[in-house]
């Protein structure tokens, strides 16, 4: 499987299928997709030498004195875009390099690749399957109008939203992104599409593609789809529950036939690592000011760092698997939200879990009780910590974590902290409706 053969395959396909534009895709540090379109004539050069672009205008990329960067298409990610089928448009994900050919540390794909190599050195490959939630609104204006409730029922009846979802799933399947299931979520106008597991790099690419597909389908129907973590105050936010498994060759390293619940020592230590590093990695899994409006009591999102087998308020959950299905033993991490950068989130989850494995951390106590009903003293006695309550608090936790610094690399770690502190400061300047309504009449 040489890269040359793959490149040849892509070039042949472009010629035979009448592809007119190839979009080169990559991701900035906050998880926004960037795209450069090239013509088939430029593709061969792009595949062999890469495409030079000015990185100084991309968030979290180069400083001005090293502005030139090279996008190198990864030929195995070539796909024709189904929603643009008649126009002959395809996409290909890129790795970002410096002009001297070295990998660029600010490229989230590179961050994930580095972490996956670290896992491979220990003999592990990392598989993930996310549940991705989102809302359909009438438009992208600041007053969200749901589609399937109250007066807006007329605008698009319930089954129309199902139609959007079906079209989205058809597109995803054509893109080679198998869908496990889909359904209407708890909140009005909220939907979920669950993807089948894939290796973490392919899945991160899939998540980027998925978010775009959902938005494209909505756009084509004159509505708006959003992955904003918490758009409606009184309803659940949009999560990105991530199911994870580690494989050693063909064997699921999380499974053991010898323990009561089928979890191996590796699984125990991985869970311990996740729980231990949860506060430090929250800034990555939940990177926006708005993310923390989702992590509040009274909804399904977790706010305390503990694990359980069957407790929907747990941060780390071990879903029940069918007897004998050793390959599906997995760990679910429930705090990330739909607007996360999947490359970075998979990176920190893997790093945290593997840190548990490397240091043979022992499994903390399982919490079956309702944590919300415990007193804060009881929680402390059980060693249950709260996740950071604000972005600012999360950044403090992140900044102190040596492991997160290693997992993200200095470039991303520093840029992220700097950029997110600015975001928090901007938010702090804002006087909210809540404050005006609450304080103005009495103070």
């Amino acid at each position: 499987m040489t890269t040359d053969k793959q490149a040849e395959y892509v070039l042949q396909t472009v010629a035979k299928r009448g592809i007119r534009f190839i979009r080169l895709w990559f991701t900035d540090v906050q998880g926004f997709m960037k795209s450069v379109a090239i013509s088939p004539a430029e593709l061969e050069t792009a595949l062999t030498e890469g495409m030079t672009f000015d990185g100084s205008s991309i968030d979290g990329y180069a400083r001005v004195h090293e502005a030139d960067m090279i996008a190198r298409p990864d030929p195995k990610t070539f796909q024709i875009l189904p929603w643009r089928e008649p126009d002959g448009v395809a996409r290909i994900f890129c790795d970002i390099h410096h002009t001297d050919g070295t990998a660029f540390a600010g490229d989230p794909r590179n961050v994930l690749r580095r972490n996956l190599r670290g896992a491979a050195d220990l003999g592990y490959s990392f598989y993930v399957a996310p549940e991705l939630e989102f809302f359909y609104f009438a438009d992208s204006g600041p007053n969200p109008k749901v589609l399937d409730q109250g007066g807006y029922f007329d605008l698009t009846p319930l089954d129309t939203a199902q139609e959007y979802r079906r079209t989205t799933i058809e597109h995803l399947e054509k893109l080679g992104i198998p869908v496990e299931q889909s359904h209407h979520e708890v909140a009005p106008s909220q939907h979920e599409i669950t993807l089948r597991y894939d290796d973490a790099m392919a899945m991160a690419d899939n998540v980027m593609t998925y978010r775009l597909t959902v938005k494209e389908v909505a756009l084509a129907h004159g509505i708006y789809a959003t992955f904003m973590p918490k758009p409606l105050e009184d309803h659940d936010g949009s999560g990105f529950h991530t199911h994870m498994s580690l494989f050693e060759g063909g064997e699921n390293a999380f499974y053991s036939a010898d323990t009561e619940h089928g979890l191996s020592k590796t699984a125990d230590a991985f869970i311990a690592g996740l729980v231990h590093h949860a506060p430090a990695m929250t800034a990555i899994t939940n990177q926006w000011v708005n993310s923390y409006k989702r992590l509040v009591a009274g909804f399904e999102a977790p706010i305390y760092a503990f694990w359980a087998r069957n407790n929907q308020s747990a941060l780390v959950r071990v879903p029940t698997t069918k007897a004998g299905k050793s390959s599906s033993t997995r760990i679910e991490y429930r705090s990330p939200d739909a607007a996360t950068n999947p490359y970075l989130t998979f990176s920190v989850l893997l790093a945290a879990g593997l840190d548990g494995v490397r240091n043979a951390m022992s499994l903390p106590e399982e919490v079956g009780k309702n944590v919300f009903e415990m007193s804060s003293r009881e929680r402390r006695d059980h060693g249950i910590r709260r996740l950071p309550e604000t972005l600012s608090h999360a950044l403090d936790e992140l900044e102190q974590s040596e492991l997160m610094n290693q997992a993200l690399g200095d470039h991303v770690f520093d840029w992220f902290l700097r950029n997110k502190r600015k975001e928090w400061d901007a938010y702090q300047h804002h006087v909210s409706r809540f404050e005006l309504e609450r304080y103005l009449p009495i103070l």
Binding site: E173, I177, G250
Partner: protein, 214 residues
Amino acid sequence: MKGLALFPETPSAGFAEALQLAALEPILLGVEDLEKTDEAANWSLVLIELGDEPLRRMRHARRLHEDTGVPIILIVLKDQIALIVDEDLELADFVVVPTDPQELRARVRRQVSTVATDEVLRYRDLELNTATYQATIGDRPADLTYMEYELLRFFVENPSRVWSREQLLSKVWGYEYYGGARTVDVHVRRLRSKIGEQRSAWITTVRSVGYRFG
């Protein structure tokens, strides 16, 4: 059909009708066109009807082939077959008038498709062109990635037996791929999703062993 040419420009009524029914619209060539050998590059296949001047047109065909190498299908009456039996002209094919339009179309397509038949692998309504890497399912192109294509090709070439994940890894991926055996499961899933629900059963999961195609 690109580059299909016909000589002479006025075919017999019977053959003209067959062309029409076969939905073929050849470039019409007069005698003088046959001299323009530099134009021959635009012809991928030339039909020459012997008609009422069989010997003369045979000479044209021979010369055209010698000068340009373009493949030729002779259109002959039944009693003209004798003329070409011992002919040393390298014919691509010949078709007898009266002509069945379907047969005509099929024979023309066999030549015009630049692909030799052994470069196309088939399974039911699936076609894999190993020269151009294109896959079609039920006449619609399937957008496979390179590895999905290679896996499917391996399956089609080696049907009806069970392959373990490790065997597939070494035969299709060619070396110990860093994703491990799980990679195979992931690719099989992607492949199933792309070939569609009805056909996904072509690939059977054989529990605790691996996969079988067909």
